[in-house]
Symmetry: C2
Subunit: 198 residues, 2 copies
Amino acid sequence: MNEAVVLTPERILEATEDVLRRFGLAKATVVDVARALDVSHGSVYRHFPSKASLRDAVAKRWLDRANEPLCKLAAADGPAPERLEKWLRTMFAIKQKKVCDDPEMFATYLALAQEAREVVESYKDKQVDLLAKILSDGVAQGVFEIDDVKATARAVFDSTVRYHHPAHAEEWAKPECPARIEALISLLLRGLQAPCKH
Amino acid sequence: MNEAVVLTPERILEATEDVLRRFGLAKATVVDVARALDVSHGSVYRHFPSKASLRDAVAKRWLDRANEPLCKLAAADGPAPERLEKWLRTMFAIKQKKVCDDPEMFATYLALAQEAREVVESYKDKQVDLLAKILSDGVAQGVFEIDDVKATARAVFDSTVRYHHPAHAEEWAKPECPARIEALISLLLRGLQAPCKH
């Protein structure tokens, strides 16, 4: 056993991802993770006191990593309507890429996410916060008129669920999908726009 | 066997629904349906030449029945924005009622619908047509401004998927659901509205 090397949470999470990739969610155990790191499983439990806490941490890491480009877009400058459109298209593309590039790993993470409910909920809340940032920038720019920014950000998130919720993943590769996304985004942008002044 | 009684497709479909309710989709057979009607299974096959055609017909009947109030609302008179809102709320309520009132039967029909893909697609197309009817009425009334009515009707349907697609059924009873529906509908209505005239 290699207890001399410093065992960080990050190293454990990396090893866990590897183990999940190799064995799948159903078969992967904490012992497999410990073996991959050449440490005792007690050493893993010192950082993640239960299998559930390790599972939640892996799910969170995966989601946070996927979210990085969206955080940047929300923090950027520029006209809010263009940024909103880009943000939505980027979110859809991230999801679609994950499904197409590595469908098995996507399925594994989906199963993981279904057990890590709280992690997924707080990830969704974070995305709504990012949307709210863009919407309130748009209000400040005078291009959007919105009574309740938070509720409207949630509505934008909810209205696009067909293109980011994995339950609809099999729709994403269909040829009519881009035109339908186009129509949806322009309907949403019109709904957010400040009406012309009298 | 009771071959003297006239065996109509409608009677067979009624009996099939009963059989599905009693045995569930996995166990129900055409022989069970024939037995319930006191006829030979050959008599059932005379009307529905395969198990798939019977399954599709049952799914279609179920969906058509659920759709009746929506057809009426789409055909009614009155201001389009109010009708659109009522149509959407009615659609959500129909779905939610089905899940709450008879969750087992809902699950059975879900499994049935997953096999009857074409029937479900044409049912969705029908709903988009109903939405398009209301939208074009709104354009005629001067209250909506829409470039492509059909594509926009599809966008309204897609944007509300969270409240009518069974994959999201477990969200429908949550306490925050009505407020989220409220925010979504008002965003959509604003997106459809004709802008003020200069």
